[in-house]
């Protein structure tokens, strides 16, 4: 596959590994935010080959993992409602709510359908006019334009039985929350390539300036990640704190204006709770008043109970902020596994804990 295979070339990857090891004079702590990047880093063992030169910690880059418990419970309740059809991306199906997940809700008779695109969910709505189709709109800025278009189309075409259950989260506020939390060890960031394809990287410039940390907009293949890490290490060694772009083939500084225009038309910024972290102000999206008729939270007012509290053993908050690694958690691989997850990052394959588990990492002591 063009623009994929060449970024997996083993020789170039090894050469980049050597350059990083030759450039770093001390182990720098670097965080990637995007779950897709976490997935590749762990799966290819990039963190292992860079051991000693770079310490990779993982951020809250899995919107699936950080979707609040209450929203999952709400999605499950909607799925079980005979008036509704709940459409969702595949990765949401196994995320545990207070007592079950969407997979179990389907086994119990709830109408839950996996779709690849929000436009597919809109199509389900057109084919099932007697029921309300709710699309579980999870994702970072990357997915917001797609969800916005689905709502806009619904509005234009008069599809009144289509709604979004919005769970969108934004990256820059999360990065700032991490940088502002006490005990932060992160010295540089790999910024998420596809989020930036939409948003551009202007928003990161004040962060680099105010916090004195370099950020490199990075792609997802092994060579992208290694090149991004190399650019970060070079900046760190030279004491620079700028935003650079590794993912030049897909990202520009101003992002995608057409996409941003539609997102702004349909959504507005709102406070959002991040599972495992808590509320981060202005870190999410909600539907604008003009599209209230397509807001699932208004169509299906949440009458459920207070969501169950998270397991006391779970250190998801520490993991998502990069203050601990999954392998530092006492429950990791013991009580907490992908089959029996205690917290969000163990559930989705992009969650740091699941990525570690599936890569066979074992428990290790916490950093001093």
């Amino acid at each position: 596959m063009k623009y994929v295979d060449e970024y997996r070339d083993d020789r170039i990857a090894m050469a980049l590994v050597e350059r990083i090891r030759a450039t770093a004079t001390r182990p720098w702590t670097i965080m990637e935010v995007c779950g897709g990047q976490t997935h590749t880093l762990i799966r290819q063992g990039i963190d292992q080959v860079l051991d000693g030169a770079v310490e990779l910690v993982h951020g809250p880059g899995c919107p699936v993992c950080v979707t609040p418990l209450a929203l999952i419970d709400e999605a499950i309740a909607i799925a079980k409602n005979p008036r509704a059809i709940l459409c969702s991306f595949g990765d949401m199906l196994r995320v545990p709510g207070s007592s079950e997940d969407l997979f179990m809700a389907r086994a119990a008779g709830g109408d839950v359908r996996v779709v690849y695109s929000p436009l597919d969910a809109l199509e389900v709505a057109r084919r099932n006019p007697e029921r309300t189709v709710v699309f579980f709109a999870v994702g970072f800025e990357t997915t917001a334009p797609a969800n916005a278009m689905a709502v806009l189309q619904a509005s234009r075409l008069g599809v009144t039985n289509f709604a979004l259950l919005v769970a969108h989260v934004l990256v820059p506020p999360a990065i700032m929350a991490i940088l502002m939390s006490p005990g932060n060890r992160v010295q540089g960031f790999l910024a998420p390539g596809h989020v930036c394809a939409i948003q551009g990287w202007r928003e990161y410039e004040p962060i680099a300036h105010d916090f004195g940390v370099p950020l490199v907009v990075t792609g997802f293949e092994p060579i992208d990640l290694l090149e991004g890490i190399e650019m970060l290490v070079t900046q760190l060694e030279q004491g620079h704190a700028e935003v650079e772009n590794q993912y030049v083939r897909a990202v520009e500084r101003d992002g995608n204006p057409a996409a941003l225009a539609v997102v702004n038309q349909v959504f507005e910024v709102a406070d959002r709770a991040w599972r495992g972290i808590g509320v981060i102000p202005a870190s999410g999206l909600k539907l604008r008043e003009a599209f209230a008729a397509h807001d699932a939270e208004r169509l299906f007012p949440w009458a459920g109970g207070i969501p169950a509290s998270e397991s006391e053993v779970c250190i998801a908050g520490e993991v998502l902020r990069g203050r601990a690694k999954p392998s530092n958690c006492p429950a990791f691989g013991v009580e907490c596994t992908p089959a029996t997850p205690l917290g969000a990052p163990m559930v989705s394959a992009e969650g740091a804990c699941a990525a570690y588990f599936l890569a066979g990492r074992t428990k290790e002591a916490s950093p001093a």
Binding site: K2, R19, F89, T143, A146, I223, R249, V262
Partner: protein, 97 residues
């Protein structure tokens, strides 16, 4: 998060008032919305996420930056890790590598 896959636009059409395209991903074809890539035409490469083109691939930039990688001076000294399994070239389809 963001599984985005590059593909080539091989057809464009209108569906329900929005601009769509047929994208070829090296043998797999699927339709995608091109509203967020208004400048593309047949033969353009785009990055597709959940059925939408979120970006056009800048082929010149890609070629330029990749050429720099290929020119890294330590490339010729790279020894790929030996497989202790010793998978011999004649064991791969088509014979020797």
């Amino acid at each position: 998060m963001c599984l985005g896959v590059p593909g080539k636009v091989i057809d464009t059409f209108d569906e329900d008032g929005i601009r769509m395209g047929t994208i070829d991903f090296g043998g797999i074809r699927r339709k995608a919305c091109l509203e967020y890539a208004p400048e593309v035409d047949l033969g353009s490469w785009v990055v597709i996420h959940v059925g939408f083109a979120i970006s056009t691939v800048n082929e010149q930039e890609a070629a330029r930056s990749y050429a720099l990688l290929e020119e890294m001076d330590n490339l010729e000294y790279i020894d790929l890790p030996q497989d202790p399994d010793g998978v011999r070239p004649e064991h791969l389809p088509g014979g020797a590598v």
